[in-house]
């Protein structure tokens, strides 16, 4: 499939203060090739892609486009050459329609002609989309289609996709792959960035693997196993988390009874009639596409939003009216999805962030005054135990890479030895090695008799580590099934709003 080179990047070097993000990196993609860019967090993938899209200027190195040396001084230069990018985070106006959003992005008026072209492209590539729908009514998958169509309307020669499947259901992922393969067969090259090794093996023709800002390998993913790709990425073999099959179910520790919370704003999903029991020793997983009530569920359990009556039960008591602090003291810890600004204070040091949630359960004060020494010790414990890469407990939370901060905020709660841990997106944006470490820590916690509730959009993760699984859709929770009894497709159905599966025995 792949022809001669479309673009070649040679000796790209880009330094930030204290970090060499790209160190003489080579990258080459052929016509009609689907090429994966692989690497841990901080391996230099984003930097390389930003150079390619004209968002960053390299310190040295050259870019050759169809045999011509080019200077990608801005994204508009890149776009004029035929490079388009679908970002991980969409920039759409919720209150406008699909066609209006696309018109905005291309700086053209929203005419009937544009509407026709949208329908044409959407039919041709199997991207069903109604141009006159308001964006706020669309699912995440549909929103992604807007971004893709916006790119395709510009007839790109190279399409860059940054973690496109992290927000999609398994069915949507399959649909996307069909589209991408179709595009490649028509000669469009695709640069595909993802953490999901199985997807890359299924989709990509070639893979460039970065580690610590350097090229470590170029591989054909179809000839590699997920294990061997991961080993190339992190430079060592990783032991994936293995489900311990003998779950000894203990007493229920956390129960939700008809939990219903009516949202006061349009941005929040209302929760309706959620019933759930989490027992000592088990990990329960809640799947679902983002925005279906995950944040609301976590904050209701943690106590950030209060519920009423007997909706939430913790270790023998109804805690619906309890504050966050009382629930923490009673043994319920939580890790919200948003790391910066919610789970951690960006401008504060790790020591201070250890105090942030730690003071309820750990003795971090002496005579009523915050003890800097104890906070530092607590932070150091997390840093050591979870291998958090940083300059030490005095580093500001915002100075850590996403994956390392994730390890810190998850580790901070685990080391508080909670009886019930609720964690949202535990390995979001975390590399394979760190994800395995976090999974093991969660399993260890459950093994020691804690009840663990994992809310995640990563289905593979849930299937790998949970004992029972269900899905949130539009604020309702499906029935829960033993994870060994269901497969990804079935959980996908639950994520899509099916309340219970008839086929499951």
């Amino acid at each position: 499939m792949a022809g001669s080179s479309l673009v070649t990047m040679q000796n790209i070097t880009k330094a930030y203060p204290g970090v060499l993000a790209n160190d003489a990196v080579h990258f080459d993609i052929g016509h009609g090739e689907i090429h994966a860019l692989l690497g841990e967090n901080g391996a230099g993938k984003s930097t390389l892609v930003k150079v390619l899209y004209g968002l960053l200027q390299p310190d040295s190195g050259s870019v050759t486009w169809q045999g011509q040396a080019v200077k990608l001084s801005s994204p508009s230069v890149a776009r004029s050459l035929g490079i388009a990018m679908v970002f991980q985070h969409f920039s759409l106006f919720e209150s406008l329609t699909v066609v209006e959003n696309i018109a905005m992005g291309m700086a053209v008026p929203a005419t009937d002609n544009l509407r026709k072209r949208i329908i044409e492209v959407s039919n041709r590539y199997g991207l069903p989309l109604e141009p006159n729908r308001d964006v706020f009514t669309l699912s995440v998958g549909e929103r992604q289609r807007i971004e893709i169509i916006r790119c395709l309307l510009q007839n790109p020669k190279l399409l860059i996709m940054d973690e496109p499947t992290s927000v999609l259901t398994p069915q949507e992922v399959q649909d996307l792959f069909v589209t991408l393969k179709r595009l490649a067969s028509e000669g469009v090259s695709i640069l595909y960035i993802s953490h999901k090794l199985d997807e890359i093996r299924e989709l990509c023709d070639a893979a460039t693997i970065l580690r610590g800002g350097k090229n470590v390998a170029t591989a054909n993913p179809k000839e590699e196993s997920a294990q061997s790709l991961a080993a190339l990425m992190i430079g060592e073999d990783i032991q994936p988390a293995i489900r311990t099959n003998q779950v000894k179910l203990g007493e229920p520790l956390l129960a939700l009874n008809q939990l219903t919370i009516t949202s006061k704003s349009v941005q929040n999903m209302s929760l309706r009639d959620i019933n759930l029991k989490v027992h000592a020793g088990e990990i329960v997983g809640i799947a679902g596409v983002a925005g279906n009530g995950q944040d609301e569920l976590l904050s209701a359990i943690a106590g950030e939003t209060r519920s009423s009556g007997e909706m939430i039960w913790l270790k023998g008591e109804f805690v619906s009216y309890w504050s966050v602090g009382s629930r923490r003291q009673a043994g319920l810890c939580a890790v919200p999805e948003e790391r910066l600004g919610h789970a951690a204070v960006p401008s504060m040091s790790l020591s201070e962030n250890a105090f942030l949630t730690g003071f309820h359960r750990q003795k971090l004060r002496t005579a009523g005054l915050v003890s800097a020494g104890r906070c530092k010790k607590a932070a150091n414990a997390v840093i050591d135990e979870f291998d958090v890469q940083c300059h030490g407990p005095h580093s500001a939370a915002s100075s850590l890479s996403g994956g390392n901060l994730q390890k810190f905020v998850v580790g901070r709660e685990i080391l508080q030895a909670p009886d019930v841990l609720v964690v949202s997106q535990p390995t979001w944006g975390v590399d394979a090695g760190a994800a395995a470490a976090i999974h093991k820590a969660l399993q260890g916690l459950a093994k020691n008799g804690a009840a663990v509730l994992v809310i995640s959009q990563d289905l593979d993760e849930l299937i790998a580590i949970t004992d029972r699984i269900g899905a949130l859709c539009a604020g309702r929770l499906s029935k829960l099934y033993a994870t060994t009894d269901v497969d990804a497709q079935q959980v996908g159905q639950l994520m899509g709003g099916t309340h219970s599966l008839e086929v499951v025995a």
Partner: protein
């Protein structure tokens, strides 16, 4: 086109230096201002910055002016750290003066030791009452405290004006809008013989130290700081926002009220319609000039107090308008904010890039 681009790593050092840079720029701009006004520059600077503090009386006066500024600004900085924008310290100051002053007038000619403490309590209560209104509105109907506290300042000023024109007017005062002069038992004793320096100076030092410890070492201070920078993280940690709003406003109200009482029971000695030369507003500048850090605020208060004295002195010796004080204070805040912008952003010339 010119636009601002956020810096990846704003310099910490420049953050601390910014107040000094702003001060230097203010002096430089002042130099040109004096030059344009045709005033002998050397003399003007001398009159403004040196003469006022060249003797012990002048230094004491500096303390008299700095005490209320520092007290209010330190209290404000706690709230500002927490993201509670109380702009109405001026009104809380006036209410403290009114309530404390009313007690003094009620116990007119009563020679008793309890009069002054009672006045202090009344002053504190008055300031707290005035600050409680924006706190209540913010926590119940989510009304912006910037607007409510600011508007209440004008209500307070009119209330004071009404009282000194009416109910509290000196019966033997030839209809001047002033109260009686307070009786000796209702006046603050001077701390240093022969000067007007009163206990407020000591209270200012005490509050500075207390706020420093509170902010850096206590759970409450931690909660305030978290709430200011990352409100959602504060929620996650279980810090109730309503409580922090109440604390910030009531504490500032109490301190501003006490400062107001000190002013009427100290340098002024009666109630009249102009008991504050804008201390409550100037304290906002002081708080930012001091980087919202109690110790920084302390020194910023001294600088700002000097600008008041300098303005008066320049008015007397050089016939300059008193508005010069306001011009200097305004320039200082302007340069400080400009420096802050440049610390956090760089100026980029040229066509804007699409990110």
């Amino acid at each position: 086109m010119i636009h601002l681009q956020r810096r990846a790593n704003p310099s910490k050092l420049m953050g601390y230096l910014a107040p000094f840079i702003a001060l230097l720029l203010t002096l430089a701009a002042g130099f040109f201002l004096f030059l344009m006004l045709g005033v002998p520059v050397g003399e003007a600077f001398r009159a403004y910055f040196i003469d006022p503090i060249s003797d012990s009386y002048g230094l004491a006066e500096l303390g008299v002016k700095a005490a209320p500024l520092i007290m209010i600004a330190v209290a404000l900085s706690l709230g500002f750290r927490a993201g509670v924008w109380n702009i109405g310290a001026e009104g809380q100051f006036i209410l403290g003066g009114i309530c404390g002053g009313a007690v003094a007038l009620y116990f007119y000619e009563v020679e008793a030791a309890y009069v002054l403490p009672l006045m202090c309590l009344a002053g504190i209560a008055g300031g707290m009452l005035w600050a409680a209104i924006p706190a209540l509105l913010r926590t119940t109907v989510n009304a912006n405290e910037i607007l409510t506290s600011l508007m209440l300042t004008y209500v307070a000023a009119l209330l004071l004006s009404f009282l000194v024109h009416g109910p509290l007017r000196d019966p033997d005062g030839f209809n001047f809008p002033e109260s009686r002069l307070f009786h000796d038992a209702a006046l603050l004793p001077s701390v240093v013989q022969g000067t007007r320096l009163h206990i407020g100076a000591l209270v200012a030092i005490f509050i500075t130290v207390m706020a420093w410890v509170l902010l850096s070492r206590t759970l409450l201070g931690f909660a305030l700081r978290v709430n200011g920078t990352a409100p959602r993280a504060a929620k996650h940690a279980g810090f109730g926002q309503a409580g922090l709003v109440w604390f910030s406003l009531l504490f500032t109200g109490a301190v501003a009220g006490l400062a107001g009482l000190f002013e009427v029971a100290g340098p002024i000695g009666q109630l009249n319609s102009t008991i504050s030369p804008g201390y409550g507003f100037t304290a906002i500048i002081v708080a930012f000039l001091g980087r919202l850090h109690p110790v920084g605020v302390f020194f910023a208060g001294l600088v700002m107090a000097l600008s008041y004295l300098g303005g008066e002195s320049a008015q007397i010796t050089l016939n300059m308008p008193l508005a010069v004080t306001g011009v200097f204070q305004g320039m200082l805040l302007f340069f400080l904010l400009a420096a802050d912008v440049l610390i956090n952003y760089r100026i980029v010339l040229g066509r804007e890039r699409v990110a």
